[in-house]
Symmetry: C2
Subunit: 203 residues, 2 copies
Amino acid sequence: MKLYDGGRAPNPRRVRIFLVEKGITVPTEQVDLGALQQRSEAFTAINPMQRVPVLVLDDGTVIAESVAICRYFEALHPDPPLFGRGALESALVEMWNRRAELHLLFPVAAVFQHLHPAMKQMVQPQVPDWGEANKPRVTAFLQFLDRELKDRPFVAGTSYTIADITALVAVDFMRVSRLVVPEELGNVRRWHQAVSARPSAAA
Amino acid sequence: MKLYDGGRAPNPRRVRIFLVEKGITVPTEQVDLGALQQRSEAFTAINPMQRVPVLVLDDGTVIAESVAICRYFEALHPDPPLFGRGALESALVEMWNRRAELHLLFPVAAVFQHLHPAMKQMVQPQVPDWGEANKPRVTAFLQFLDRELKDRPFVAGTSYTIADITALVAVDFMRVSRLVVPEELGNVRRWHQAVSARPSAAA
């Protein structure tokens, strides 16, 4: 198999962190997003959505979408469980991973894509008002998350899961989007320190 | 348990269709989105994200997010499988469900939320340019899906899955968003007729 990776972009990093947490090594090829290599004819044939990461299996089967790739590895290597175990725990991990995506990662990405000058060529049309509209959504979710993290160590409960990976990648990407975690959100800061101290965070 | 439902909105309908396909009946309470009941103090205490659907278990545990609710029922009632079976099939269903969300349902919803006059009060700020920017994304994805559906009956493969539910709900919501499926996309139209003919589509 081969993983098409994409450097510092948030979604490829989600999969890399996941693989380190699982202790899995996968042959990897870098796709140069700065050079728009993901829009080349060769890569478009692999993923018509022109996005990374993508996992290509030995028989040529293509698995796109970060969370789909992670689920594939979760099924092959169930330990440690990063999607929860059992009906309820799995549902709560799904809920928190989606909340972290919809209300944190996607808004942080929208701020970057629609306001950063470096994205002018990549994102057409850039809609600066949409970028601005997403800034307060990021803060609002972090405030909510801070209240939740008062009583538990990780985003979805007592164990580290894919929801922590999504939230970590989102918070780290805030710097690129020129956003900051408000000083007073002590629980988010404590959680961020803890998940950043894991070896996987270097991925 | 109790399902907080939300009338004609797309996400609550995803869960209702899922439940009919599974043959599961759940006690339901309607949340009046038109009256902004999802922003009431009582409902915000249940889901601080102020969104439906939400499933509340008998012990008070809250499962929000449509797909998290569906996964919970999938684990309790595995037949018929609507999230795929085995590592590869499950990954491909996840991939297609996410593609149907990210590139179809969310763009269709963005067109509605940011361009429809009825959404002025609900969506603040409305960003009409963002609504417009999403229109071509809808068409582009439907063209891609049409090529894919040339060789298979359902969005994620040979079986009906949650990816079909997401895509059906999105396509049906296009009417509300004042969008149309291009006449020439015969495979999408054939698929849409087939999934609309299932009893679950009435949900």
